[in-house]
Symmetry: C2
Subunit: 324 residues, 2 copies
């Protein structure tokens, strides 16, 4: 089946599911996901009948909570490794999204199937992130030096001092390898081509490496925007829409000469990235994912906040990244 | 797209994922799932090119472990309710199945997409299981009388004395309402019609009720064979294959005059069920699901063990239930 409408890949940040100050009860998360889902259904109602919307999302707070629960209960129940924890959060968050989206669509008379899929993403065992202490992604809760050293010794964790002056300055850090390919590409294409709204590649996907011809889960966390870009390629997205907590990306972020960006070309984005305007682990990978999307063949990438999504799609706000 | 081959709905029991004596590490579960997946791929290789295989599975040990972890860590992290826990196990077990199935199929040169979906199942808020202390499904670990009474008071749990002479005779029991409909039927049909092997309705599905036009998760556990039967209807299955730990269902189970059943008609199955030959919570719901499947319009239901699946499909073993 050929593609004959426009396709929008929406990448949702952690704030779409859990606010920073919240503990993460199911009620809180359903409330946030419902708010997010209202914006998404607004977008869907803006689309033409052949257009498609595909959703991916982060899972940082959820996998953090789940990994901590597993660690606390480790004497009684064997903790699952990070790949399995990631899969569990895909079930958890996927359920919340499909339930809220379905309920809102039913109320509005929008008849489109919504489905979340369990989704692996291939990474390379030789990725620099797996080498030595290169691992760059902090996960889980903050630790005292004593706790950090104990966990390093007990479990072989890589721990890093991420908040030097805090009472608990340490955190576990895990490899954040570059996503190579979405494993369930074929099934996702079937669903999107048939008209479904698909939630996929949740939390950056379940990280797997190829070993002796088999896909094997690894203890890692893939950046959800970079993995979302691979998903955008799979579904042949025209627009890659990254929704985060700011309306626009900024130059000189946090400095007196800070400047919001309305538009940048790929060449400009690369230069700004090299100049250090975008924080690693934050705006950095988002801009990198946008560059990759445009170089692959996408038409436009947009970075904006959830509540500005429809306006940004109409060109009224957000940071738009274009080929040049 | 019209259906033009045979379709087999395979319902896998808990032993397909975790053996009773195991603690439930990821390694153990991957090993068991891999063994199960080898049998499933054997079945797939026996099928014609238009035939389809659809999979559902239990989640008792996994949701039990996860709920216990959440309870142990409840001071630090808010525990998720049973519907969310169910969704999490769909992610966990779905990942294990699709990973193992894909690896075995790749090795054997079988090129079929495999995908697990997050899946809600509708139940009725007025189901008798939600009334008073009717709830019949024991979940989680065994409790002392003191623990049971504390949890009853603290959380409003229904607790029942399920092993009268054991040191920990009590368990939490939750409603096990009758499944009415598979919520994501449309998306599942799209995938099956397009040729994918789909894993759905895991753990009996995420239980939801309709409230003011919305689907809302509830604290319940749906029987996975009865929910699997609803899935069989959705995908228009010809054969409903329930794989458990025995080769055949038995009359006078556990008695000196115990007799394995090769074949029974729906009328016989109903009579045996009424006469109490099949244990509730064990063979009972399996036989009930088979009766329902045949009365809906299915051709044949089979109850057998995992290692006899191919033989049973060829009519060599298993208990075959037919219309009459």
């Amino acid at each position: 089946m050929a593609k004959n409408g426009n396709r929008i890949l929406v990448a949702l940040g952690g704030n779409a599911i859990k606010q920073a100050e919240e503990r993460g009860t199911a009620e809180e998360q359903f409330k946030n996901v419902n708010t997010t889902a209202i914006h998404i259904v607004n977008m869907i109602q803006h689309l033409g009948k052949d257009d498609r919307l595909i959703i991916t999302h982060g899972n940082g707070p959820q996998s953090g909570n789940l990994a901590l629960q597993q660690d606390i209960a480790k004497e009684q129940i064997p903790p699952q490794p990070l790949d399995v924890v990631g899969a569990m959060t895909q079930g958890q968050i996927g359920y919340m999204f499909q339930n809220c989206l379905q309920n809102i669509m039913t109320a509005k008379g929008v008849k489109v199937p919504v489905i979340s899929v369990v989704n692996q993403v291939l990474v390379d065992r030789n990725d620099p992130e797996f080498v030595g202490e290169n691992a760059s992604k902090p996960v889980g809760n903050f630790l005292t030096e004593e706790e950090a050293m104990r966990l390093k010794a007990e479990k072989g964790w890589i721990v890093k001092k991420v908040k030097p002056n805090a009472p608990k300055p340490w955190r576990r850090t895990v490899p954040s390898p570059d996503p190579i390919a979405n494993v369930e590409a074929e099934a996702i294409k079937i669903l999107v081509n048939a008209g479904a709204v698909v939630v996929a590649s949740g939390g950056g996907g379940i990280p797997v490496v190829k070993e002796n011809g088999k896909l094997v889960g690894v203890e890692a966390v893939i950046d959800k925007d970079l993995a979302g870009e691979r998903l955008a390629e799979v579904v042949e997205a025209d627009t890659f829409l990254i929704l985060t907590d700011v309306e626009k990306a900024k130059l000189n972020y946090g400095k007196p000469n800070e400047k919001a960006l309305d538009r940048m070309t790929v060449a400009e984005a690369k230069r700004y990235l090299a100049e250090g305007h975008f924080l690693p682990g934050s705006m950095g990978p988002k801009v990198k994912a946008c560059i990759r999307f445009l170089e692959w063949g996408g038409k436009e990438a947009i970075i904006t906040s959830l509540d500005k999504a429809v306006d940004a799609l109409e060109g009224k706000t957000g940071t738009h990244i274009v080929k040049g």
